[in-house]
Structures are given as C-alpha cells and as structure tokens.
Amino acid sequence: MENTTVEIDIEQELQKLSSRIEFLREKIKKGEKHRIGELVELRRRFKELAKRKMSSLSAWERVQLARHPKRPHTIDYINNIFTDFVELHGDRKFGDDKAIIAGFAFFEGEPVAVIGHEKGRDTKEKIERNFGMPHPEGYRKAIRVMRLAEKFRRPVFTFIDTPGAFPGIGAEERGQSQAIAESLLVMGELRVPIIATVIGEGGSGGALALGVADRVLMLENSIYSVISPEGCAAILFKSQENAPEAAESLKITAENLKELGVIDEVIKEPLGGAHLQPVKMYRLLKRALRVNLKCLKRFPVEELIQKRQEKFYSMGIYQEK
C-alpha cells in the first residue's frame, strides 16, 4: 500500500487537532473569549485535513476506520441514544455471553428492545467480551430478547460490530451453526419492526445473525462482508498480506453495499470518522433511527413482515434463460 504512512500521519494529526479543539472550546466556555480566532483556525485546518483524507479512502483504509480502537461501540450508542437501558442476561440454556448486549430501553420516550455486539474497550473488557465474537449462547440470548420484544410489541434495534462468530471448540460443541441459523429464521418472521445498524465491523454470519431487519443502516465508514479481507486473502489470494486487494474485490464498504441493494441507507459520519466527533455521531444516528422507526410504524404487521421477506428474497444476482 503506497501512502499508508502518510495516512497514518494524517490520522494522528487529526486526533491531535480534534483534542485541541475540544480543549479550546472548554477554555472559551470558561471565559477565554480572546482565543476564538485560534479555534476557528484549528477548525479550518481540521476540516481541510479530514477532507483530504476522506476524499480518497481505499477499501482497506475503511477497514482500518471500521476497526479503529476509538470508534464508538454498541455500549456507547446505547448510553447516548437511549435512556434507562436495562440489560438482560443469559440464554437460559448455558450461560451469559458478554459479546452480545441485550435488553430494553427507551428511545425518545418510547420503549424498545436493543441488541448488539460489544467488542470491549480496554484489554480486560475485550477479553471478557471475547473481542465481540459471540458464542451460540450470545445468539440465543439475542433470540430470547427478540421474542420478548415481540411479546410486548416493542420495536427492535440491533447494532452490528463483530469480526465474526467465535471459531472455537465450545462454540462448535454447543451449536454455533444452529444458533446463527435460528436467529436468521426468527428475525425473518418477527412480528415487530426491526432496524439494524452496522456501526463498525460486519463480519460474516456472526454479523448477519443480528442483521435480518426491515431497515439495514450502515455508518459511512463501517464494513460488512462475507469473510474478513484477511481470511479471503489467505484463501483466494496468495497470502494474508493481500488483504488490501481482497478488501477491494469483496466490495465491503457502505457505498458498495447500498449499490448492491443489500443495505437500505448509509449514515454520514462526522468528518474524519465517528471516533473524532462521537457526540455528533450519536446525534446523526439518532436522527436516522427516529426517521426509520417512524416510517416502519406506519405498516400493519403483516405487511411489514411481507416487505421484509420480499426484500431478502430479492437479494442475489443471477441469469435466467
């Protein structure tokens, strides 16, 4: 990859600028009005740099952004978009999988269910949450909460952010395939509106298991793919080092997926990426969720399900002659 080092420099510069802007804003709030000129200048530089960076992003750079360590996670969206989140635990069969968070909350005063992958922030939490890679019990917990939402006629919001379902011994023994398959089936016929948002990494079946929705939204710099670029490169290209090439071939960006009709809407991120201005990101996503929910609530449930099923039935490109 040419330019990689340059891009990383820009990223660091943007981070620096972004924290200095925050710092100055605080100062100005506290009365240092004379520094406004400085702030304006910083903002101008930030904008210019961010634009330069974002205008020519490769698929591989999107992958880096989607996996950015500071990118907002499901937990952040829950805390900043919803109120009174009550987390529910366990699948009632085996255990509680912390790679998936699920529960009820209020969205602008309206009771809803929220389910999402959570990767964890610091090392300890990442290990606890298994880097957002669920075991079967995670999907079974998600299914349980979806059924509860259906019972109490609450819309479901899901947030997708996982490298994939966990490939491990226990996961296989306890039916990873069955758990994912059942989640697909349940979402396909759930009698309440479902809005899924890909907020970071949409890794394969483990992501889709929370993604069979009436509306599938995707943040501008998130990715959604049948296999990780690294995995694809290892199998189809010569080695894992061809991941950037694989990322390009796989068409995994929000823009690509919108063109293919796999997702319904691309949500703009703040300039430079969600991690640089998370508060703005929450606001942008909240607005999109509001608009989509309002739209879905107009449909009688039978029509809603029919439309959802027809949408997924229409996916795929083939010849017929």
């Binding site: 379902a165 491990g168 296989e172 396909g188 079946g205 189809l236 068409k251 796999v262 997924f312 795929g316």
Partner: protein, 278 residues
C-alpha cells in the same frame, strides 16, 4: 497458510467422480477397491464402510425411485456481478466448474418419488466450487421450498458445502437470510423439511438451511461445523480432539438427530415421511 491447506484438502486431493474400470484406493483403510464394485455399493468402501463423496447425479439416483424431473430450475445460471478477480477470474472458475461437473451450479433440485412418496429433493455437489452457496444456490433453495409448498410434499435437502461463495461476497452472505426465510415459510405451511448433512457441511450453509431441518440426519464421519478446523486451531492455538466436528461427535453433543449409513438412508427417509405425513 493453514486455511489454504485446509481448502486444498477439501477440494483438491479427493476425487469425487469415479470412472469405470479403475482401481480406487480407499481414503480411510487404504485398501484398493474396483470402481464398479464401489459404485454398486453406493460408494461405500466394502472393506471399512467409508463413505466416498457422491456427485449430485449419483445422489439423486440413489435416493429417488422415480425421477419425474432431474433439474426443476435449469434456467437459473450464475453470473459475475462483482467482476470478482483473485488469482483467477470468477468467470473462469465458473466455466471450469461447469465443464468438470456438467452442472449449472452447486445445487440441483429434483422432483420425484421415494417408493410411493412424492418429494422435492435438493442436492448439493461439492465438485462445483466446493459446493459454495452463491445467488443461484440460494434462489434454487427458495424455489425448491416453494415447489414443495405448492405441491404439499416434503422437501429433502442433501448438503455438501464449504460455505458461502466468496466470489459473490455479500450477496452470498445474504443467501443465508434468504434460505432461512424460506424455511420459515415451510414451517408456516407445515411442510416436512429434512436435511441430510454430508461431507463436508460448513460455514454459511451449515449456519443457515442445513441446521434448520425439522429432522437433521448426517452421513457417517462427515465433517460438519461452522468454522473450519484449521481456523479454529489457529484461533485457539491448540490441537483439536480426535473426531471433532465429525457427524458422530455432533450426535453426541445433541446437535443432530441421527447418523445414518448410506445404505439405510432411503428407508429412513421413507419411514420418517410416513410417520409425519398424511
């Protein structure tokens, strides 16, 4: 690279199509078997009972007593929507697979009878790009399910697949949702849906229609799972136990209903149909 080796192992070495008049070395017991004897014996090794993989055609013939239509949807053909290119072009891979198998895709949906019971039979062929599921496989599954609903007859599907087809990328992934929705419709219409998992059944096929059967049968010693064994080994950095992800292991873990020898398969299917239908 482990993954590549694993895939090579799945696709490369084993020969599925067996020509007449040749001696075949059994992959398990290493004894030589004359090809005609092997074919007559449903491709089960007469020495050790090892089940060789079957082509879609062999499978359909071995299950159906009467074939009304071998291929219900012959007009569905794959394209290259993403213009996917890795070390080879997807278009070329498709062409090779077609020439090798004489099939349009990795799944054939047939209509016929097991004794006096009319069924729709979906059969995957591992020779066609590792039985991978792309847009056409998903669409064929859906149409097969619809045919079963319309004619009120059971839908029986034999799986053999490495998973989703990478060359169709996200479109392949979406076939998992599509086929799962089709199974939901089979359920709504009280149609019997049986899956028979054969060697191998992995990834996106395993995690969608394969594990949604009302009854899930597996052939002896078939490799069945979500993640490939090499991927698991690399992730957890330990060796996998003997027999891990084999049909018998899944039976013990409660993931499937039964492991059925190929010789008893047709009878088992027929009995299950009689016990649930009419």
């Amino acid at each position: 690279m482990g993954l590549k080796k694993f895939l090579g192992k799945l696709t490369g070495k084993r020969k599925i199509k067996i020509e007449k008049g040749e001696w075949i070395k059994c992959e398990k017991c290493k004894n030589l078997v004359y090809s005609e004897d092997l074919i007559k014996n449903l491709k089960i090794c007469p020495h050790c009972g090892y089940h060789f993989r079957m082509t879609a055609e062999e499978r359909v013939k071995s299950v159906l007593d009467e074939i009304k239509t071998f291929d219900l949807f012959p007009s569905l053909k794959p394209t290259d929507p993403l213009k996917f290119k890795d070390t080879k072009r997807y278009k070329d891979r498709l062409k090779e697979a077609k020439e090798k198998t004489g099939l349009n895709e990795a799944m054939v949906v047939s209509h016929g009878k097991i004794l006096d019971s009319e069924v729709v039979l979906g059969v995957m062929d591992f020779r066609f790009m590792g039985g991978s599921m792309g847009s056409v496989v998903g669409e064929k599954f859906v149409r097969g399910a619809e045919f079963a609903i319309k004619n009120k007859i059971p839908f029986i599907v034999f799986t053999a697949s490495g998973g989703a087809r990478m060359q169709e990328s996200i479109l392949s992934l979406m076939q998992m949702a599509k086929t799962a929705i089709a199974v939901g419709k089979l359920n709504d219409n009280k149609i019997l849906y049986i899956t028979v998992l054969t060697d191998p059944t992995m990834g996106g096929v395993s995690a969608s229609f394969a594990f949604l059967g009302d009854i899930i049968i597996a052939e002896p010693e078939s490799l069945i799972g979500f993640a490939g064994p090499r991927v698991i080994e690399q992730t957890i950095k330990q060796q996998l136990p003997e027999g891990f992800q084999k049909a018998e292991f899944l039976l013990e873990k409660g993931q499937i209903d039964m492991v059925v020898d190929r010789k008893n398969l047709k009878k088992t299917l027929y009995t299950l149909i009689k016990q649930t239908q009419g």
